[in-house]
């Protein structure tokens, strides 16, 4: 995937993300409105509460229906057994204990309990109580004449006295007993036989119960048959807290309270705000309503399957009362819910949330737009840059091709002319042209490679101590020949009182100044003058700021060109004519100056000349900090020395051999690293005074050969100076040769002075 596609994908990704954010933000706003809408008191919401009430009924019925079917089935089974026993088919039926054992061993539950209750709970007065279905009342039957507690006669029934109907409706507890009698006297009909909520005597928990009648065998050793058949009611009791949790789990409105009541207003189960002994008591205490009003509600409940009553004030709060008849219950039972009308009121629009959401959305939109625009601009710029780079490459290659072809053409032509020259003078003239074109080519290649290195970030700034005057003289000496050739006078001025030793990257510094001076000479009129002025801008104890001014009085630059003079290959046509140049010089000056922390300025007037000013701050080095590294080259020391020259290129070998032999050196030749290694190994200790090692060679390169020589087990292996000779003129190449144990580095083509300076220095060092 190319860069352009990646960026496109990034843009799409970000836009998708921000749009997702927008959707979420708007959803929040929408939700807050929706919540608000749902919360408003309206018919829909009241219907929703009624629906919740009705659905709770269904859940409740479902929860209890299976259990009712189970106990009904088992009750029928044990009753059938008892009836068969009564008919003599079997001895007896199930005892209460056996029935409970059966339940607890087969239907163990954490929240359902089973209990059997006899219907003869009022033995003091009568042997049984009869349920009067017509009047929904209990009638004591088979009255006893004496009321016994244990053996003690507590009261004797007056002769002919008629006892009142037994009333159990007064308290919840008694209502359960009433339910027992009532249930025992009604056959199983498949409906839910709910009983009022009561406290289970074994664990003290409130239970919500269903029941079913059965006949059980009660053992009594004193009776002839060993027992008797007795009507019982089998209860399945659910922990009310379990049922209440079921309600809560389906609680749509948090403040909604639930209760199931019978027609006597006794609670079957309840939660929340339903308190007091029963619903009547609750309403009497907490609701601002008369007894008649309460009865009206109940009358309404009994006559309607589903209904509601708005705005009942309970605890001083307005409640919406909703009720639903439990259809599957045997008898009149109702689900009643209380929902505070406050719950319907709009928790008004959540303004902070809505505002925040809108702000969030707006911000997202803004950021989406801004970032989208930025990204688009960047991508367009990037695409343009890529296009420019592509054009630049094409242009560069085109220009380089042209610039190489021109001198090459000159070289080849002149070389051919030399072969046909009739006189030595004529040949020398052609040779000079060849040399000129060669130097131009070399400069061009150096410039191109230099730019390449700088652009690749490979350029190192190597600061070294250098004398101010040395730099000046070195530059002036080097340029003076070129100036003389072009009939240009060089005016040099330096306000330096002392020959300060300063830190600088001498090589690059020199390159900057040489480029500027070369240009100044090139673009001066014949017989003109170029000023090279070094000025101390300021100095203190540690640093020194120098301004290097190069001024010519030549053709100058047009304003249009001046704007782009630092761009590579830019040449003003009129200037280039006849003067030569690649158009890279100023570009290199600019890059180097900035890389070295300097500043470059230019003033130019077309037809009148140009002044370049570069400024650098240098650290001053005082005596003791560093010594003058300059070595006086004493070529005499070379006489009689043995130098191993390792070079695969015959021409280069010829040049080096000639240079050295002219100075009285015994040259030993090797054409690759391996051969050199063997020669060194076979030589006597201290035989070679120095090794000149080419780096790139077949069989074994100079780096490897040097490493192997240094690793040899002989004392001179570590000591013998090795000088690298390579066309790889860059810093990393130098690093490699030094890492391989070589002592110095010479760049090809060799500069004779530098060559001898290094060779002499190392031979002298080796002698020490």
């Amino acid at each position: 995937m190319n860069q352009r596609e990646t960026k496109k994908r990034n843009i799409i990704g970000m836009i998708v993300l921000t749009n997702i954010g927008l959707v979420i933000a708007f959803s929040i706003v929408l939700l807050s409105y929706t919540r608000s809408y749902n919360s408003k008191l309206n018919e829909n919401n009241m219907a929703a509460v009624d629906f919740t009430t009705a659905s709770q009924c269904v859940l409740f019925e479902t929860e209890f229906e299976l259990e009712q079917q189970k106990i009904d089935t088992i009750a029928e089974f044990v009753t059938k057994a008892a009836n068969e026993g009564k008919n003599g088919a079997v001895k007896k039926g199930w005892t209460p204990e056996e029935l409970l054992d059966f339940f607890y061993s087969n239907y163990n539950s954490d929240y359902i309990y089973y209990q059997v209750v006899s219907d003869t709970t009022f033995k003091g007065w009568c042997n049984s109580i009869v349920y009067d279905d017509e009047n929904d009342n209990l009638q004591a039957a088979e009255y006893k004449t004496k009321w016994l507690v244990g053996e003690k006669i507590l009261r004797t029934r007056p002769e002919g006295a008629k006892f009142a109907i037994v009333d159990y409706s007064d308290s919840t507890y008694d209502a359960v007993q009433k339910h027992t009698v009532k249930c025992a006297n009604k056959p199983i009909d498949g409906g839910l036989r709910l009983s009022p909520e009561f406290t289970y005597y074994l664990n003290g928990k409130k239970v919500t119960s269903i029941s079913t009648p059965c006949v059980l065998w009660e053992e009594d050793e004193n009776l002839p048959d060993g027992g008797f058949y007795q009507n019982y009611v089998l209860y399945a009791m659910f922990e009310s807290s379990y049922i209440v949790k079921e309600f809560k789990a389906n609680d749509r409105y948090k403040e909604m309270s639930f209760a199931i009541v019978n027609a006597d207003a006794n609670y079957v189960c309840r939660n929340g705000k339903f308190t007091s002994d029963n619903l009547y008591s609750f309403m009497a205490r907490h609701a601002d309503m008369s007894l008649e009003a309460q009865q009206d509600i109940f009358a309404s409940m009994v006559s309607n399957d589903l209904g509601s009553d708005m705005g009942k004030s309970i605890y001083g709060i307005s409640y919406y009362v909703s009720y639903k008849k439990i259809d599957k219950a045997s008898g009149n039972y109702f689900m009643v819910t209380l929902t505070p009308t406050d719950a319907f009121k709009a928790p008004e629009l959540n303004i902070p949330l809505a505002v925040l959401s809108i702000l969030f959305a707006v911000l997202l939109i803004a950021l989406n737009g801004i970032y989208g625009a930025i990204l688009t601009k960047r991508v367009l710029r990037s695409i343009e840059a890529e296009k420019q780079a592509s054009n630049y490459k094409t242009d560069f290659i085109s220009r380089i091709s042209h610039d190489i072809r021109t001198p090459m053409n000159g070289i080849l032509s002149m070389a051919e002319f030399i072969t046909t020259a009739k006189t030595l003078e004529e040949a020398k003239g052609y040779n000079e042209s060849v040399m000129e074109s060669g130097r131009y080519l070399l400069a061009l290649v150096n410039d191109v490679l230099g730019i390449s290195r700088i652009e690749r970030g490979k350029m190192n700034i190597d600061l070294e101590p250098c004398h101010r005057f040395d730099l000046r003289e070195s530059v002036v000496n080097e340029i003076r020949t070129f100036a003389k050739k072009n009939s240009i006078d060089i005016y040099v001025d330096d306000d330096g009182e002392n020959d300060d030793c300063i830190m600088m990257d001498k090589m690059h510094m020199k390159q900057i100044l040489m480029n500027l001076l070369t240009n100044a000479i090139k673009f001066s009129y014949k017989e003109g003058q170029v000023d090279f002025i070094i000025t101390t801008v300021w100095r203190d104890d540690k640093t020194l700021k120098l301004r290097y001014t190069v001024r010519d009085r030549g053709i100058g630059m047009s304003p249009e060109f001046a704007k782009k003079m630092y761009e590579p290959f830019e040449q003003e046509n009129k200037m280039a004519v006849g003067l030569g140049g690649s158009g890279l010089g100023l570009h290199i000056v600019k890059i180097l100056t900035e890389a070295m922390g300097g500043k470059i300025e230019c003033e130019t007037i077309e037809g009148k000349g140009t002044t370049f000013t570069v400024e650098f701050v240098h650290r001053i080095i005082y005596e003791g900090d560093t010594g003058n590294s300059k070595i006086d080259v004493d070529l005499k020391v070379l006489t009689g020395k043995r130098i191993l020259v390792v070079e695969d290129n015959d021409t280069n070998m010829f040049i080096v051999n000639k240079l050295l032999e002219d100075k009285g050196v015994f040259v030993h030749k090797a054409s690759n690293g391996l051969e050199a290694l063997h020669m060194f190994e076979e030589s006597a200790q201290g035989f070679f005074n120095l090794i000149l090692m080419d780096v790139r060679m077949p069989v074994m390169n100079g780096i490897e050969a040097s490493q192997k020589i240094r690793s040899l087990e002989r004392s001179d292996a570590k000591r013998v100076p090795i000088i690298a000779m390579t066309a790889d003129a860059f810093d990393e190449d130098r690093g490699k040769v030094f890492e391989a144990g070589m002592d110095a580095h010479l760049t090809k083509p060799l500069v004779v002075a530098d060559f001898f300076e290094v060779v002499v220095r190392l031979i002298k060092g080796e002698e020490k």
């Binding site: 929040i28 009342n137 109907i165 005597y201 664990n203 948090k254 939660n271 205490r285 997202l364």
Partner: protein
């Protein structure tokens, strides 16, 4: 730029999310308070006010039938689901202690502060015995519910001292009424405490401190002499402790408070209509001995049956000057050890034991608040001078409080000829 943008988006998104949904709420908590029916209204209303302050808390008051018998069963089961409960035991030998949080250590153990600084020392102190497993929510006094309507019908005012009381008893007895009704145990306790107060007063305030330290000096024979005198004079009719309320015999002895209240308002069962009905607005009970705990039941009954009978609670006027208010603790409340909401339970206790709320609770229940200036409230309602108000707990019986009550009941049993 890209990182900055992503960070901004992320922060905004977080901010947006933080603003989403409803306002952050605390966990929703349900506090279950277990108790008898006699204090339901007071605690229910306190709960309602508490819920308004703590919207994340719902308080459910659960009534338990046969409370005294079933409470321990409930507390001892695996998951009692109880946070607070009305404790039926007294501090010494309270079998429920093991189910209670020690309110004295709650600060050090749970880092919760239970504040009962507005309470009355004398009724709280007996509940502190190295531990405090419960604390009385209110105070009560024994006294007489006087049927003002009946007395006024015969031109008699509510008796304000011993002589007038005796005169009134004699008068209603002559009119064919059984003068004093009530639960035998309560009558015994009422006379016993009044007797103690009488003894205290006889010995003078100066000696009270001595007497407080040595209850054995109290002549219990003297105390019950008053009671026996009432029986001898026929003001109290000793009979079976259980009475048939349907046969028209309104006599000493009632099964429960509802029955006693119906008797006071002359509510009888109508065989024809098969429901309880008010017989008249005069009543057949001139004096009913009970504690202030009974006030709520009586009031409910009056409202439920729309009785016109007016009544007044007075202290048993056995002194020449007035009756005595012997302040007793009532409705001790505990925090259940297994509660998962002890912090909110303590918060609810603190709420109920704040002076303002405690006075509200007492007013609803017809009892007296457990506050340091209780005398003011007793005086306001009963017109009792401060010197006739005696504080439970100051009296350090050699027999402990519970033992003293047992002693009283045993004496009562002898009187009634019952074996307990």
């Amino acid at each position: 730029m890209k990182k900055l943008f992503v960070s901004v988006i992320f922060l905004i998104f977080l901010t947006g999310l933080a603003g989403c949904g409803e306002k952050v709420q605390e966990d929703f908590v349900t506090l279950r308070v277990l108790g008898k029916t006699t204090t339901n209204l007071a605690i229910e209303e306190a709960a309602y006010r508490f819920e308004k302050l703590h919207t994340n808390v719902k308080i459910e008051y659960e009534y338990m039938q046969n409370y005294d018998a079933l409470l321990e069963k409930r507390l001892s089961c695996d998951a009692p689901e109880v946070d607070l409960f009305l404790n039926t035991g007294i501090v010494e030998g309270n079998p429920l202690a093991k189910y209670c949080v020690n309110l004295l250590d709650i600060e050090s153990e749970k880092n919760l502060a239970f504040d009962y600084s507005d309470s009355l020392d004398c009724i709280v102190k007996p509940y502190i015995n190295e531990h405090m497993h419960s604390i009385p929510l209110m105070a009560m006094v024994y006294g007489v519910y006087v049927n003002k309507t009946l007395l006024n019908h015969y031109g008699i005012n509510v008796p304000s001292n011993y002589a007038k009381f005796m005169s009134a008893l004699e008068f209603v007895k002559e009119k064919g009424y059984v003068p004093i009704h009530g639960n035998p145990m309560e009558i015994a306790a009422s006379f016993a405490f009044s007797g103690v107060c009488l003894e205290l007063e006889k010995k003078g305030k100066a000696d009270i401190d001595d007497l407080y330290g040595n209850a054995e000096n109290i002549d219990t024979a003297e105390i019950f002499a008053i009671f026996n005198d009432y029986v001898d004079k026929g003001y109290i009719v000793l009979n079976d402790p259980i009475v048939d309320v349907n046969d028209g015999n309104y006599e000493l002895g009632y099964n429960d408070n509802d029955e006693m209240a119906r008797s006071f308002f002359n509510i009888k069962y109508d065989e024809t209509e098969r429901k309880y009905k008010k017989c008249d607005d005069l009543g057949r009970v001139p004096f009913l001995i009970a504690s202030t705990e009974f006030a709520e039941t009586l009031n409910n009954c009056k409202q439920n049956y729309s009785s016109e009978i007016e009544y007044e609670f007075i202290l048993l006027p056995i002194s020449e000057a007035s009756g005595y208010a012997y302040i007793l603790p009532t409705h001790a409340i505990s925090i259940c050890k297994t509660s998962e909401n002890i912090d909110y339970a303590v918060e609810f206790l603190n709420f109920m034991f704040s002076k303002e709320e405690n006075v509200n609770i007492a007013n609803v229940s017809g009892e007296f608040p457990n506050v340091y200036d209780i005398n003011k409230y007793i005086n306001q309602r009963l017109g009792v001078p401060e010197k006739f108000i005696f504080e439970y707990g100051k009296l350090e019986f050699k027999k402990d409080e519970y033992g003293f009550l047992n002693f009283v009941f045993k004496e009562a049993d002898k009187i009634y000829g019952m074996e307990r």
